[in-house]
Subunit: 395 residues, 2 copies
């Protein structure tokens, strides 16, 4: 294998990209690479994401493992590049009923996470490399229509009542409830969803085998039974303080909008709402009495234009719903630029892998990868185990 020193990966040839799932062996190799890198970076790492986009995940894993990297990439990978236990991780996951979902998998919520890929790559908002998941549902299906409900750890009766009403109404209308499994509003949101037989997704700031908070063990186990427990941190990784902010970006990214119920002035919920705004998703807050301090953060967010005021599920769906539920624009003329070129590269019948589309369209693989979910969202193409294909509309 050739090295990926600065010179070589600045201008990689399309032919140099690894194939995507073109054989079982390749597929396994890629999975091991994602899992290895996931443990090396432990959280979002824009530099490694860029490396993968540039040279592919298998080559990126090799380069990291061998420290065959430009100086600028070493700090992010140096500490744990020697820990190569990807195969063991996969075994362990299977043993405890967990799995790893990578960008190669059908249940990868590609169009949800696309927003992260589009954020300034220099920031902490990078795409996750892999998501560790417990629970029966498909991650992409569960988050198809999802609202994040987050808030104060020390809620009062009002917060509990409002969360119960809002979550109850959202669940009744088929929305998945995403939250952070913390004490207070988060826990209530999950519990109400569970009690009504609704779908709920808990995104953790530590490995999915290390539930937190400890007193929420049982809640986490219940969510894992019928919903999903998700983390970008590999098994066994404890929660560090900085994990929570990164975790909040996933709560936002996996949802159609973030609703804050009760928040103090320095609430983590405000951070989650900020992620929603950065991702172009609605950030919403429910007001409360001004005679207690429990809604101070909500009021401040509304007052400062950081969140829109909502009072009930109907408002929330009005804000978060239309974008997702609107009739997709299925006219091919609705796309342009890379999207149009990638679409043109797809045959009328049959499927293609991203790499093939890169070759056919003359567009670099990362741009092809970015274009595909846009086309999918526009209702023009679909994806299955054979790859991407056109969707036929009308006559």
């Amino acid at each position: 294998m050739s090295g990926v020193g600065a010179a070589s990966f600045e201008a990689p040839g399309a032919a140099g990209y690894p194939a995507c799932g073109s054989s079982v062996a390749d597929s396994d190799e890629r999975r091991l690479a994602w899992v290895y890198l996931s443990r090396v970076v432990q959280g979002p790492c824009a530099a490694v994401s860029a490396l993968i986009a540039s040279v592919g995940v298998v080559e990126a894993a090799r380069a990291v493992r061998e420290s065959d990297l430009p100086e600028s990439l070493r700090p992010a990978t140096q500490q744990r590049r020697g820990i190569d236990r990807a195969a063991r991780d996969l075994e362990l996951a299977e043993r405890i009923g967990a799995r790893v979902v990578t960008p190669d998998d059908a249940e990868w919520p590609a169009w949800r996470l696309l927003g992260l890929a589009r954020l300034d790559a220099g920031r902490e908002g990078a795409m996750p490399l892999a998501l560790w998941v417990r629970g029966p549902g498909s991650l992409s299906a569960c988050t198809e229509r999802a609202i994040a409900v987050v808030g104060r750890r020390y809620n009062d009766d009002y917060g509990a009542q409002v969360t119960g009403e809002v979550v109850g109404d959202l669940v009744a209308q088929g929305w998945t409830i995403v939250s952070g499994a913390a004490f207070g509003i988060d826990g209530i949101a999950h519990r109400v969803a569970l009690s009504l037989g609704g779908s709920t997704v808990a995104v953790l700031a530590r490995g999915v085998d290390r539930p937190y908070p400890a007193a929420h063990d049982r809640l986490i186990a219940q969510i894992a039974e019928s919903g999903l427990v998700v983390s970008e941190y590999p098994l066994g990784v404890p929660a560090h303080k900085h994990h929570f902010l990164a975790r909040n970006r996933l709560i936002a990214a996996l949802s159609d909008g973030v609703v804050v119920v009760e928040a103090g002035s320095r609430s983590g919920a405000r951070n989650t709402a900020k992620w929603a705004r950065r991702l172009g998703l609605p950030a919403l807050a429910i007001p409360g009495p001004v005679t207690t301090a429990n809604s101070v953060g909500c009021h401040r967010m509304i007052r400062e234009g950081e969140a829109r005021l909502v009072t009930r599920a109907e408002d929330i769906i009005e804000e978060a719903g239309p974008l997702r539920l609107s009739q997709p624009d299925t006219t091919e003329s609705a796309v342009s630029g890379n999207e149009a070129l990638v679409f043109d590269a797809l045959p009328r019948t049959g499927s293609r892998q991203p790499r093939e589309l890169a070759t056919a369209s003359g567009i670099a693989l990362p741009e092809v990868r970015a274009a595909l979910p846009v086309l999918e969202f526009a209702g023009l193409i679909g994806v299955d185990e054979n790859g991407w294909h056109r969707i036929r509309h009308g006559p």
Copy 2:
């Protein structure tokens, strides 16, 4: 006296304007004219305001009395033009401890009401012709720093508590509380201000001798003892439904901002806030629990951008305060257009009446009247019983 048929008052010469307070007799004549017209129109009447601006109040009163008017002006005046009891009204007012404040009076809150004059003259937002007042204070002084606090007639404990806290803090910082003396939030706002020895102004939708609601007789009497009870409706006029909307515009116009505490979905308070927006003043609303319907109107106003969310007096002062409390720009170069010409027409020493300034500057009297409060607000000129004069700043 010449007629004011269409031809003559379309283009009146400046010389044809009546003098403003240039003698006691003139002054009495003008006062009687304002009072007469106030009873004829009973509420805002843009057509009559325009007539007064055009030919002066004395001539306008004569023309109305004699129906010496263009066809378009007759409907607004026909019904009560025969009721000429201005002298009796003034006597009666004096007897019951009330007074009439007209645009000629020093306590006329000229710069407050200027906003109304600037609104589209075709709308219901005209300047009042006279204000009927009970109470010891000067209307212009009492409303120098004023916040309107309005809300639901059927408040709950939360509304009472919030009104108490906000009004208490505003009063402690020297703000006058303006409201409508209705049941519920209005009454609480007045009572809290009174109980703390603060200044409060009640604006009624009927004559100041006919307090409403009846059960608030005692409250109205208390306000008249230390604050002000104000109405643009002459003595004896009962409250008609349409009076309330016109009254709301005065509540807004006499304040630096309108704060709504608890409001149903069709609350009159929302109308008062709308007037604030039309006048360029802050419209503010305090949120409440979403678990009762009492703050539905507040939440809707915030959600729809009709009001900004505030939670406490500090927020309100931040919104309403700076405009009024900011250092006036006392550089003469800060004014332009009519204001500059009117300012130039004022001698370095000595005072001038508006009419003299109109002649000296070549600007029509209504424009001179509009320019004077702007110059006053800019800190460039002042007014006393001798008329308008320059204020000297520094060397």
